[in-house]
């Protein structure tokens, strides 16, 4: 009890007494408001590595003198491009904090890479900036890919899975292709000169349409040949368009930037190389064939129509038709003529009969029969129809109905006027 009392007194008199929780909270606040401690890189060797079911990573980073606990949460761990293990030299980025339950000050990592990668990365950035400034990545320099290549060159390792992936994809999509493989190491010191030589050799093939430069997945160091300046220049100077297919989804290599087209994987590169597949060619072939048929039918039906028109025209203007028409017209005319002739004849006969009867009526004979005489001058034959035409002594001829009587005018005619 005494002790308790003393403790109470001590508590009471103290200016500031932390609970453990508040101490840890205070520590955390200190750590988490320090700019350096919240954004730092640490290099060290991994030990006590563990990755429980939760997916979070727990390990210690150490050097010869010291160590510190590290945590990497699952969402960051999933982005790792390599598998951390004990003994591995790494560089980690993160923030310092404290795990209050154990009073453990630890580094909460959000990035982790094999040691040395940082220097490589700086070198990569420098080279990239220099080549970019020089224009090696310019979009204007990118050459269009042939839509239907005939001959494709492949620069890759002859033993890698990338080559099989590429050949399978090309064979599946466009088996009419010719493929020339330019085998080269794609990893290690021989890789850059090997790739450069392969590109040069392929460029000597005159009918080559396209080059695929590929490598399967690997760590960033594995892919380092694709960040080599000589490789970049060889791609840039390639006469034949180059598709890069370096198997790394997240990172771009220098080769990717210089290449005319970049695919995330070797298979992807083979797919980009064959933008038109045999299947699509078959479809357009069928379409072309249908077009041929349609055009032929069109031509034939148009020809048939023209023929029908011409035949109709021909029938209208044929000699037979002309002859038939002429014969018909002739028949009609003859009938008309006959009709007309008949009528005319009738009319004439009638007129003749009436003329004859009129003539008969007017005939001097008929008059003579009625007791009249016709007097003519005996010598001149002139008809004497007036007394004044005569003079004494003039010899006349009197015509009666049954004969002529010569006569002489004995006296001067007496006028009756």
């Amino acid at each position: 009890m005494v002790i308790l009392t003393r403790m109470d007194a001590f508590d009471f008199n103290a200016a500031l007494i932390f609970s453990v929780t508040s101490l840890n909270n205070y520590l955390r606040e200190l750590l988490e408001t320090d700019e350096v401690l919240q954004d730092l890189w640490v290099r060290g060797e991994i030990s006590n590595f563990s990755q429980p079911r939760s997916g979070h990573l727990y390990f210690t980073l150490k050097d010869s003198e010291a160590q510190i606990r590290c945590v990497m949460w699952k969402n960051s761990a999933l982005r790792l491009r390599f598998s951390p293990a004990d003994g591995m030299q790494v560089e980690g980025h993160g923030a310092m904090s404290i795990y209050p339950a154990q009073g453990q000050v630890q580094l909460y990592l959000d990035a982790l890479r094999p040691a040395g990668e940082g220097a490589l990365y700086q070198e990569f950035l420098r080279l990239k900036a220099r080549l970019e400034a020089e224009g090696l990545f310019d979009p204007e320099h990118k050459r269009p890919l042939p839509s239907l290549p005939r001959h494709i060159g492949v620069v890759t390792s002859p033993t890698g899975a990338a080559l099989q992936d590429i050949l399978q994809t090309l064979s599946r999509r466009l088996p009419i292709l010719r493929v020339t493989i330019a085998p080269t190491p794609v990893q290690g010191a021989e890789a850059p000169p090997g790739i450069v030589a392969a590109l040069r050799h392929l460029n000597q093939l005159e009918d080559l349409d396209l080059i695929i430069l590929a490598r399967g997945g690997g760590s960033i160091e594995d892919l380092w040949a694709f960040n080599d300046e000589s490789v970049a220049r060889a791609i840039y100077n390639s006469r034949v368009p180059v598709i890069s297919g370096v198997g790394h989804e997240t990172d771009f290599t220098i080769a990717d930037f210089v290449a005319d087209l970049r695919a995330p994987t070797p298979t992807g590169a083979a797919e980009l190389a064959t933008s038109i597949t045999a299947q699509e060619l078959s479809l357009s072939l069928r379409a072309a064939s249908d077009q041929l048929d349609a055009r032929l039918n069109e031509l034939l039906s148009s020809a048939r129509q023209s023929l029908a028109l011409a035949q109709a025209e021909l029938r209208r203007s044929s000699p037979r038709a002309f002859l038939q028409n002429a014969l018909q017209r002739l028949d009609e005319t003859q009938a008309r003529l006959e009709r007309l002739g008949h009528n005319q004849l009738e009319a004439r006969n009638l007129r003749l009969a009436s003329s004859v009867s009129r003539l008969n009526a007017l005939s001097p004979q008929a008059v003579l029969r009625r007791g009249y005489a016709i007097i003519t001058d005996q010598h001149s034959g002139v008809l004497i129809s007036r007394a004044s035409q005569t003079q004494p002594g003039q010899e006349l001829l009197l015509r009666l109905q049954d004969g002529l009587i010569p006569a002489q005018v004995t006296a001067k005619p007496t006028g009756a006027e």
Binding site: L148, R150, P158, L167, L170, S171, P175, I176, L177, R178, V179, T180, I181, A182, P183, T184, A197, A198, H201, L202, Q204, L205, A278, L281, S282, L285, A288, S289, Q291, L292, R295, L296, L299, L300, A303
Partner: protein, 76 residues
């Protein structure tokens, strides 16, 4: 190198010819006889293209890795 694949017209050439024939056929001034001839030619090219496509197998060759010349070491 074996001569057989080189003697056969390429798919691209045959297909280009086919397109040219179709273009010609679209010309309405064509005499019918010529049109029929073009149609036959088009059909022949179309079948040729089909058979090339159907029988095609990727022809793979490799440059000699150690050799610095660009001669094909293998061709099938």
């Amino acid at each position: 190198m074996p001569a057989s694949p080189e003697n056969q017209p390429s798919f691209e050439a045959a297909f280009a010819d086919l397109q040219a024939v179709i273009d010609q056929l679209e010309n309405t001034e064509l005499p019918l006889e010529e049109a029929l001839r073009l149609y036959e030619e088009g059909k022949r090219l179309s079948m040729l293209c089909s058979s090339i496509l159907e029988s095609a197998q990727l022809r793979v060759s490799a440059l000699n890795e150690t050799n610095s010349t660009a001669t094909a070491s293998e061709r099938d």
